[in-house]
């Protein structure tokens, strides 16, 4: 039934897309090469500046070498104390960020849907919004019974406003024709929220989440440095006080890596939540 000749077109057809995928375009290759070169150059500069303890107004005398940091990292990642610091920071980010999402998205949607809610809530929020989350540290310590709660509160504050305001913006951009279409098909208020407004604002919500995640880290690290016990921000600041210079850079690198990882998680969530959105 399956002649060799009869199968031939099918085989070539199956191979064609693979071949196309394998042929990496020139632009991608160049981008990869330049990217690697850029990172290598940075590491080289760091290495040279620190091993030769360059002093040219800026002083590299005490800055650890890449090798020293790497050696320290190999030890630290096996140290339960260090692991706990990382874990605690992640937990704080998680709770503050989720809290901000759980409050910001519904509030933003309600404010977008009902003018009355918007007019009642927005002025007070606008008053608080220009105050950076870090400026809340002293008050937050006074407000909350535990240090942990006050740090989570700072993290929450940092991400709350971008999430809320982006959701509100998204609500204002919902196509009224879609709402009309849904009402014509028998959708009541609750169904409108669930089936129309929510999916319609999701792209904007995720923009807010991406921005909010960034601000959450900024706020968390600052709060940990000022008020923390445990946490990667506290670790970094303490390393400075204890004159363990390699730990400072290790802390910085971990903060950067965690920031990168959490942004990637937000992007992944966006792709999973909006399968219809090719841009996401």
């Amino acid at each position: 039934m399956h002649g060799t000749l009869g199968n031939l077109p099918a085989v070539t057809a199956a191979l064609a897309p693979q071949r196309a995928r394998r042929a990496v375009p020139w632009a991608t290759l160049r981008m990869l090469a330049l990217g690697l070169a850029s990172i290598a150059l940075f590491l080289l500069a760091w290495h040279l500046l620190t091993t030769h303890r360059v002093v040219a107004h800026v002083r590299f005398t005490n800055v650890p070498t890449p090798q020293a940091v790497l050696a320290r990292a190999a030890l630290a990642f096996r140290d339960p104390q260090f692991q706990m610091n990382l874990l605690i920071s992640c937990r704080r980010i998680g709770s503050g960020f989720l809290l901000a999402t759980a409050l910001g998205v519904p509030l933003g949607m309600l404010m977008g849907r009902w003018r009355l809610v918007r007019e009642a809530v927005l002025p007070a929020l606008e008053l608080l919004r220009p105050i950076p989350a870090i400026a809340w540290v002293p008050i937050s310590i006074m407000l909350w019974p535990t240090n942990e709660e006050s740090i989570v509160f700072i993290t929450f504050l940092g991400s709350f406003f971008p999430i809320l305001l982006n959701t509100l913006l998204g609500m204002q951009g919902v196509d009224p024709i879609l709402v009309r279409a849904a009402r014509c098909l028998g959708a009541r208020e609750a169904a409108l929220f669930r089936e129309i407004y929510l999916p319609a604002v999701l792209p904007q919500v995720f923009t807010g989440l991406a921005v909010g995640m960034g601000v959450a880290w900024v706020s968390l690290i600052a709060a940990e440095m000022i008020a923390g016990q445990y946490g990667i921000g506290y670790f970094t600041w303490e390393a400075y006080s204890l004159v363990s210079y390699a730990d400072i850079v290790l802390g910085m690198a971990c903060i950067g890596a965690l920031g990168l990882l959490s942004s990637a998680l937000v992007r992944l969530a966006a792709r999973l939540a909006m399968p219809w959105n090719r841009a996401a």
């Binding site: 024709i177 009309r180 279409a181 014509c184 098909l185 028998g186 959708a187 129309i196 219809w276 090719r278």
Partner: protein, 282 residues
């Protein structure tokens, strides 16, 4: 419950804006769609066609006059009155089939039955192959077909259509008109179809209302005594051509008015002559 409804609009007026911004969009307009009738509403741009349709859909209340379905005042939107919009209005986050099922889901109909209804209608409209795609992947013509099917899925008694083919090229348009007639023949509900394409109005309708420039009123009402089922070659028939020139003249007058021109005392045939002389090479 099912079947076709009687639509009546009497001495309808609707103003937009308030205070000094207040402006009459439609004034003293009366029309009706008898049960099972296909009626077109044609008029120059901005004359208030969408306004009339939106009032019938229940999105806005008339400033004066009555808007009724089967003798009952329209209070708000209802799945009894399906609507197909001028703009594409499929929900981008739902697949084609989910879009069509939406109205049935709102009615609390179970998944199995929803799916069966949706698939039957989609195959009638020739888009069943796309049931699991998102609207993004569809051409304009397919989107509007799904839009029509979605409006029909709940079994409405009236279908309101606001220039549904306005954004399509003429080839696609002609195909869409035939598909629409097929779908309509299968249900025979009352249709009010807004367009500013004369041929489209004649091809589809039992009756045509011509509107004046803003504030919109009914300028003329024409019966279309052409036999059904209608085929595209109808466009060459004497009856079609006569209706077309009649409608053209009526709408030309209003379009000129809409552009701020006054139609003078020059007889109609001579005005056409002048226009032709102006564009024809010497």
């Amino acid at each position: 419950m099912n079947g076709a409804a009687h639509v009546a609009v009497r001495d309808f007026a609707l103003d937009y804006g308030t205070g000094s911004q207040r402006m009459a969009a439609v004034q003293d307009l009366s029309l009706e769609v008898k049960p099972g009738e296909f009626v077109s509403l044609i008029g120059p741009s901005g004359c208030g066609k969408s306004t009339v349709l939106n009032a019938l859909a229940g999105f806005m209340q008339p400033t004066r006059g009555l808007v009724q379905v089967d003798g009952a005042e329209i209070r708000g939107p209802s799945p009894d009155r399906g609507m197909v919009f001028q703009q594409y209005s499929l929900f981008p986050w739902m697949t084609v089939r989910q879009n069509v099922e939406f109205g049935l889901k709102m009615k609390g109909i179970g998944a199995t039955e929803r799916q069966r209804t949706a698939r039957t209608l989609l195959s009638l409209a020739g888009v069943l192959a796309f049931e699991n795609r998102y609207p993004d992947a569809l051409s304009g013509g397919m989107k509007q077909r799904v839009g029509i099917v979605r409006a029909l899925a709940t079994g409405p008694r009236v279908l309101l259509m606001d220039e549904p083919f306005g954004a399509l090229d003429s080839q696609t348009r002609a195909i869409m008109q035939s598909i629409l007639l097929e779908l309509w023949e299968a249900s025979r509900i009352s249709v009010l179809f807004v367009t500013h394409d004369i041929d489209e109005a004649i091809f589809l309708s039992d009756r045509i209302y011509v509107m004046t420039a803003r504030p919109g009123r009914i300028k003329a009402e024409l019966a279309v005594p052409l036999e059904r089922p209608r085929t595209p070659d109808l466009a060459g028939s004497a009856g079609f051509l006569q209706l077309r020139s009649q409608l053209r003249e009526l709408i030309r007058e209003e379009s000129l008015k809409a552009m701020g021109h006054e139609v003078g005392a020059v007889p109609a045939d001579q005005r056409f002559g002048q226009d032709l002389a102006a564009v024809a090479p010497p």
